[in-house]
C-alpha cells in the first residue's frame, strides 16, 4: 500500500541544515497538508520525496519500497506545480500524453486514460489548445489531469492554487477535495494558506524552521494547538495570546495578568500537572467569546473591557478591546458590532474549557 514515510530525513545545503532528522508518516489515502510560513522547509520536503533533490541522509519509503535512491520517474509519483508547468509547445492532449508515452503504455490504454481525465476535469473542449490559450483555472485543471493520467499512487501538490484569484481558488479547492473523495489517492499538498489546509486536509503537518511543530487532524490542530507557534499560526483572525502568571486562589487555578486582572481557570484542561507561580500564555480564540451574556455562568470567565476599534470584515465583524494594554480581538455579529461605540465598555464571556494555555518559557501547551 502506498503509505509514505520519511525516516530521519536530513537535508543540508552546504553548511545550512534545512531539515534535521525529520520523521513523518502518511497513511494510505491520507490528504496530508504541509503547512508553514515561507522558508520552513515544506517545499524542500516535497522535492525530496519527488526525487528532484537528494536527501543528505535518511530514508524515504513509499509503500514498502525504499525510494531514496530512485530516479524521480521511477517513484510512482506525479506532481502539480504552482506555476502549472505545462509544456508550452504541446497541446493539452500532448501535455497529458507526454507522461504516458514515456511509460510505454499501449496506445488504447493511453487513449482511455486521457479520455477519462478529460471527462473528469471537463477538458474535452480544450484538448487541441496550447497552454497559452487557456485561463489560469483551465491550466490548473490540465496540470491536475496530467498528474492523474499517470495513475500514480501518490499525488504531490506544490502550492497549486496560489496563482489563482480568490473565487477560482475556492472552486478549485472544492474540486481537488472532490477528486480526493472519489479517487482516494494519497496526497501530499504544500501550502502556506491555512484555509486550504483546514478545508481539504485529513492530516495537517505544521512546519517551522525545518521541524514539524504539530501533526494531526485539522480539528485537532485548531482546537488543541501543541505550542505557541501553532496557536498563533492557525486561525484567522489569530488567537489572542496574553502573558499571565498562574496562581492558586482558594484552591482554584487563576491566571493573573499584568495589570492584576484575574481570570478563573476552573474548567480549563491541563495536559500536564503545573505549579503555581509559572509564567504562562493564555490563548483565547476570537470566535469563542460570548457577548452580552448575563450573570456569570459556570465555566465562563467574564471580562469587562473598553472598546478600541470596530472592524467590519464582511460576514463578520471584529471588535478590538483594550486588555492589559494590548488588543484583544472578539468576533461579533455585524449588527451587534454596529451598535458598539469606541470607548464604551462591554462585557464578554469566555468558556474556560476552550482556553489554550501555554508555558511562557517552552511555548508548549500545558
Amino acid at each position: 500500500m502506498p503509505r509514505v514515510s520519511f525516516e530521519h530525513i536530513v537535508k543540508r545545503y552546504g553548511a545550512v541544515t534545512v531539515l534535521d532528522g525529520l520523521n513523518l508518516d502518511v497513511e494510505d489515502g491520507d490528504f496530508l497538508v504541509l503547512l508553514g510560513p515561507s522558508g520552513c522547509g515544506k517545499s524542500t520536503l516535497l522535492n525530496l520525496i519527488a526525487g528532484l533533490q537528494d536527501v543528505s541522509s535518511g530514508r524515504i519509503m513509499i509503500g514498502d519500497r525504499d525510494v531514496t535512491e530512485l530516479d524521480p520517474k521511477d517513484r510512482g509519483l506525479s506532481m502539480v506545480f504552482q506555476s502549472y508547468a505545462l509544456y508550452p509547445t504541446k497541446s493539452v492532449e500532448g501535455n497529458l500524453r507526454f507522461g504516458l508515452a514515456a511509460r510505454k503504455l499501449p496506445k488504447e490504454e493511453a487513449d482511455k486514460r486521457i479520455q477519462w481525465a478529460a471527462d473528469l476535469l471537463q477538458l474535452q473542449p480544450l484538448m487541441r489548445r496550447k497552454p497559452s490559450e487557456l485561463s489560469g483555472g483551465q491550466r490548473q485543471r490540465v496540470a491536475i489531469g496530467r498528474a492523474l493520467v499517470k495513475h500514480a499512487d501518490v499525488l504531490l501538490f506544490d502550492e497549486p492554487l496560489s496563482n489563482l484569484d480568490a473565487k477560482l481558488r475556492s472552486e478549485m479547492r472544492l474540486e481537488i477535495k472532490k477528486l480526493h473523495d472519489t479517487l482516494n489517492p494519497t496526497i501530499i499538498y504544500v501550502t502556506h494558506d491555512q484555509i486550504e489546509a483546514m478545508t481539504m486536509a485529513t492530516k495537517i503537518a505544521i512546519m517551522q524552521d525545518g521541524e514539524i511543530q504539530q501533526f494531526g487532524t485539522p480539528d485537532d490542530v485548531y482546537e488543541n494547538p501543541a505550542n505557541l507557534f501553532v496557536a498563533s499560526f492557525i486561525g484567522s483572525p489569530a488567537m489572542n495570546l496574553s502573558p499571565a502568571r498562574l496562581e492558586l486562589k482558594a484552591g482554584n487555578a487563576t491566571a493573573t495578568f499584568g495589570d492584576g486582572t484575574q481570570l478563573s481557570l476552573v474548567g480549563a484542561t491541563f495536559d500536564h500537572a503545573v505549579q503555581a507561580g509559572r509564567d504562562i500564555m493564555v490563548g483565547m480564540r476570537p470566535e469563542h467569546f460570548i457577548m452580552d451574556a448575563t450573570g456569570t455562568a459556570d465555566g465562563h470567565s467574564m471580562l469587562q473591557l473598553p472598546v478600541i476599534m470596530v472592524e467590519r470584515t464582511g460576514s463578520d465583524a471584529l471588535i478590538s478591546l483594550d486588555f492589559v494594554g494590548e488588543h484583544l480581538f472578539v468576533r461579533a455579529e455585524p449588527d451587534r458590532a454596529a451598535r458598539t461605540k469606541t470607548g464604551e465598555t462591554v462585557s464578554v464571556h469566555y468558556p474556560t474549557a476552550k482556553l489554550n494555555l501555554f508555558d511562557a518559557q517552552t511555548g508548549l501547551r500545558l
Binding site: A50, G51, L52, D71, P72, K73, D74, L77, S78, M79, F81, Q82, S83, Y84, A85, L86, Y87, P88, T89, K90, F98, G99, A101, A102, P131, S132, R146, K150
Partner: protein, 295 residues
C-alpha cells in the same frame, strides 16, 4: 472633414540641435560603409576602359554584366580557371555539415549544462568561457597535427570539425543561458514525467529553441561563410571555400588587375550571408529580444 474632437492638438515635434548631431553622426557612420560599397557596385558594372580613366565614383557609361559572368564562370584561381562557381559549391558543401555539427554539439552541451545536474559543470563552464578568448592562430598548429592524426586533414570533414570546435565555447554559453531561463518547474515536471535526457530534449526543449536557433544560425552562417583562415589551412586543393578562391583570384602578381571582375567576385562572395540576413533578419531581432518562455 470634421474638426470636432480635436481639442488638444499636439504641436509637430521640431528637430532640435541634439538630434541633428545624432543624425549627422549616424550619417557619417553609414557613409563609411556605403561609399566603398557604392564604388564596389559601380565598378563591377563598368568595363576596364572606363575603369582606367580613374573616376571611381562615376556611374558606368555602359552597364555590363560581363565582369560578373567572368568572375562566376571563367576567372582563374591558381591553376584552375573555372571561376568562382567552384568555390561557391565548395563553400556550400563546407557550410552544411559545419553548421549542423557546430549547432548540434553546442546545443546539446548547453542543454546538459543548463538543465541536468552534472558534476563539475561549474568549472567546465568556466573553462569554456576562457577558451572563448583564445585566438584561433594560437591553436592552429596543434589543430593541424590533431586533424592529421585523425586522418581527416585536407578534407571537408576537417573544416567542419574545426568550425565545430571553434564555435563551441560561445555557442554553448548562448544555448546554456537561453535554456537556464526555461522555468524550472517545467523541467521538473518533464523529469518526473519522463526522465529521459533525449526525450526531454527532443519533445520539450527543441520546440522551445526556435528563437535562439535563428540567432545562432545567422551567426554561424555568417562566420562559416566568411571564414578564410580555416578553409585555407585545413581544406585540401579541391575543397577550398569561396573566400579562398576569391583571395587567389585578386592576388595577381603579373598582368593587369581586372578591378571590375574582382569587385564582382567580392560581391558574389558576400551575397549569400546577406540574403540569409534579409530573409531571417526579422526573426534574428525577435530572437535576441525574446527570453525563453513566458507562462
Amino acid at each position: 472633414m470634421s474638426d470636432a474632437g480635436v481639442m488638444f492638438p499636439r504641436k509637430p515635434r521640431r528637430i532640435r540641435g541634439r538630434s541633428i548631431a545624432v543624425i549627422v553622426f549616424l550619417a557619417m557612420a553609414a557613409m563609411f560603409f556605403c561609399v566603398p560599397l557604392y564604388v564596389l557596385i559601380v565598378t563591377s558594372f563598368k568595363d576596364m576602359d572606363q575603369i582606367r580613366e580613374g573616376a571611381i565614383f562615376s556611374l558606368p557609361i555602359r552597364w555590363t554584366w560581363e565582369a560578373w559572368r567572368f568572375a562566376w564562370f571563367d576567372a582563374c584561381s591558381g591553376l584552375s580557371c573555372e571561376g568562382l562557381q567552384q568555390g561557391f559549391w565548395n563553400s556550400v558543401v563546407i557550410l552544411v555539415p559545419s553548421l549542423i555539427a557546430s549547432i548540434a554539439v553546442s546545443m546539446i552541451t548547453g542543454y546538459a549544462l543548463a538543465i541536468w545536474d552534472i558534476k563539475w559543470a561549474g568549472p567546465f563552464l568556466f573553462l569554456l568561457f576562457l577558451t572563448a578568448f583564445v585566438p584561433f592562430q594560437i591553436i592552429m598548429y596543434p589543430l593541424i597535427r590533431l586533424t592529421v592524426m585523425m586522418g581527416i586533414y585536407g578534407s571537408t570533414t576537417a573544416i567542419a570539425f574545426v568550425h565545430t570546435v571553434l564555435a563551441m565555447p560561445v555557442l554553448t554559453l548562448i544555448f546554456r543561458n537561453f535554456y537556464k531561463d526555461i522555468p524550472s518547474d517545467i523541467i521538473k515536471a518533464a523529469i518526473m514525467d519522463s526522465g529521459s535526457f533525449w526525450r526531454i530534449f527532443v519533445e520539450i526543449i527543441l520546440p522551445l529553441s526556435g528563437n535562439i536557433l535563428i540567432v545562432v544560425l545567422i551567426l554561424q552562417i555568417t562566420s562559416i561563410w566568411n571564414d578564410y583562415l580555416v578553409g585555407v589551412t585545413f581544406g585540401g586543393l579541391g575543397t577550398k571555400p569561396m573566400t579562398v578562391h576569391l583571395a587567389n583570384m585578386v592576388t595577381v602578381s603579373t598582368g593587369t588587375v581586372s578591378y571590375n571582375v574582382n569587385m564582382a567576385a567580392a560581391l558574389l562572395t558576400a551575397i549569400p550571408p546577406l540574403v540569409i540576413y534579409f530573409v531571417l533578419g526579422k526573426f534574428f531581432v525577435q530572437g535576441i529580444a525574446a527570453g525563453a518562455i513566458k507562462g
